[in-house]
Amino acid sequence: MADAGIGLWTVPLAVIGGAIRVSTPFLFVSLGECITERSGRINLGLEGTLVMGAMSAYGISYFSGSPWIGVLSAGITGALLGALHAGICSLPRVNDVAVGIALMLFGTGLAFFLGKPLIEPTAPRLPAIDFGWWSDIPQVKAALRVNVLFLFGVALAPVLYWAFRATRWGLLIRTTGESSDAARAMGHSVLLIRLRATMVGGFLAGIGGSFLSLFYPGSWNEGLSSGQGITAVALVIFARWDPMLCLWASLAFGGAAALGPALQSVGVTFGYHLFNAAPYFLTLAIMIITCSPKRMLTGAPAELSITR
């Protein structure tokens, strides 16, 4: 019987595999939110955007037969929801956190409503690239079946890191986030910059949603997101608004999510609720280690409503 199983090696393998499989939605949502928050606005509605993205990607993929059109439409849906958030927030005395919560409920509700007929059909899925060709072990092969979206996400993090430092657009977004007066003095429209930043953030979150329904777990149902969008928004704070840290944090969260089931499969059966909660313990632990009473959150854009 030992021929098919790989014993305790399942756990590290599952954590690596889980980091690759589960992290992608976290990665896209957190990178998107990173852009939005760097411009000085919080969009808490990304949970709704994620679910809407998942639903529309699945629907469009099913009706058109092409999962890539599905991904694109998820992005567009996300951008539209982002525009809605930015549009409402550009009105005087509107609180972006409250609008975000409203849009989160709106997005999930709308997705559930429109997604009713999509639960039963099976839509074409995104293809995977086999990085496990060098191995004879089927488990390793399965763990290294990587989706292209994951690679996009991984590549996007350093690009954003560079863009925030070295490009005109990146500096403009950061200026708006640090001091809207400075941006205005330079002759730029703060609202327009934030609108674009929120739309790009929504676009990425929508794509993150398409990964959920079109690759892993790979079908549309109402419990699909189970709070991953919200977790990813929190992850941005935890990653100190740094795209590279967002990448590592997403990978850690993905791996932690795989830990509970993997430990049970090798016979560690006590306290599975505890292991299932591993991602949240991780957040708490790192928050406690990195916080300091002497200074503000480093890297926090000064214009954010939570820091102001």
């Binding site: 098919a4 393998l13 488990q139 399965a142 790979g218 079908s219 049970q264 499969s265 299932n276």
Partner: protein, 369 residues
Amino acid sequence: MDFSSISRRRLLQGSAALTLGTALGARSAAAADTTIGFIYVGSRDDYGYNQAHAAGAAVLKKMPGLKVIEEEKVPETDAVEKTMESMINLDGATLLFPTSFGYYNPHVKKTASKYPKVRFEHCGGLWTDKDPKNAGSYFGYIDEAQYIAGIVAGHTSKSGKLGFVAAKPIPQVLRNINAFTLGARLANPKATTQVIFTGDWSMPVKEAEATNSLIDQGVDVLTCHVDGPKTMVENAARRGAFVCGYHVNQAPLAPKAYLTGAEWNWEALYPKFVKMMASGEGIPNFYRGGLKEEIVKVSPYGPAVSETARKHADEVKAKFMATGLTIFKGPLVDNKGKTVIAAGTERGQKDPELEKMDYLVEGVIGATA
């Protein structure tokens, strides 16, 4: 007079009852319609538990003289009481099917004592003599179907390792895991079932991760007890493993990988209930049954099921259909080595001890806590 004693709800009820009275008067002159209300905890088309009930409701919709109303995603809180009251007062429902386990105590009991003329049929609860007489509980011994699925799984598995993705360690789930394992060990005495609990009824990412971890461990036949088996079925089939379904037939999702499955047969039971009510004999307060009573059924076998497996499974099924077969009988040892049913003791399906099950039998890898 103390006005605070007349709650807003009572006032609404009173006025609703008035309108209802006039409405009913008008209606009885036209046709004696019966309105039946169905309440689901989740989405009606989840390829699982709720869809099975909705399929039963759909059969009633086609019967003449019946009006079926439905509400989905009603949480197991006082929200279900409000739903039941509005179905009774506003829609004139006289028969209600609150279909989720957590509705029964205290919500169904409370509402049933308030509306003695309405019949409440709850799925999964344990009706006792102390409960209102107009309430009843029904449930199916789906472990019989799981037992047969286990036989098929035991024959099909090459590694002898079976996997079970389960939501929570409650008696109904444990009973399914145990029956599945006992069935598998009929076919292959060395077979084991590895269980992973995800912690809740609908956790798609966890279910997918559990499926992958099980297959990494060498498991080649999987089944589950979660609300929507779609995630498990699709992900297992993608990895080349076989699956046994649950709740409804998931063969369309994975035609090649689908072996068989344990399904509810509410389509057969609900019309029976309606006939019992119409004929005046009434529905028994405590209604249970398995394959023989047509409350559960086994999915048709998939193409990967061998001739030996079919024959073995059909033989056992025939025994269930004829005289009934006892799945849980002594000597039965749990996976910690403790005897849970002594030699010579048979726990028939109706034995209330089985509805309190808190152990996993020998051959199951996993723990209840």
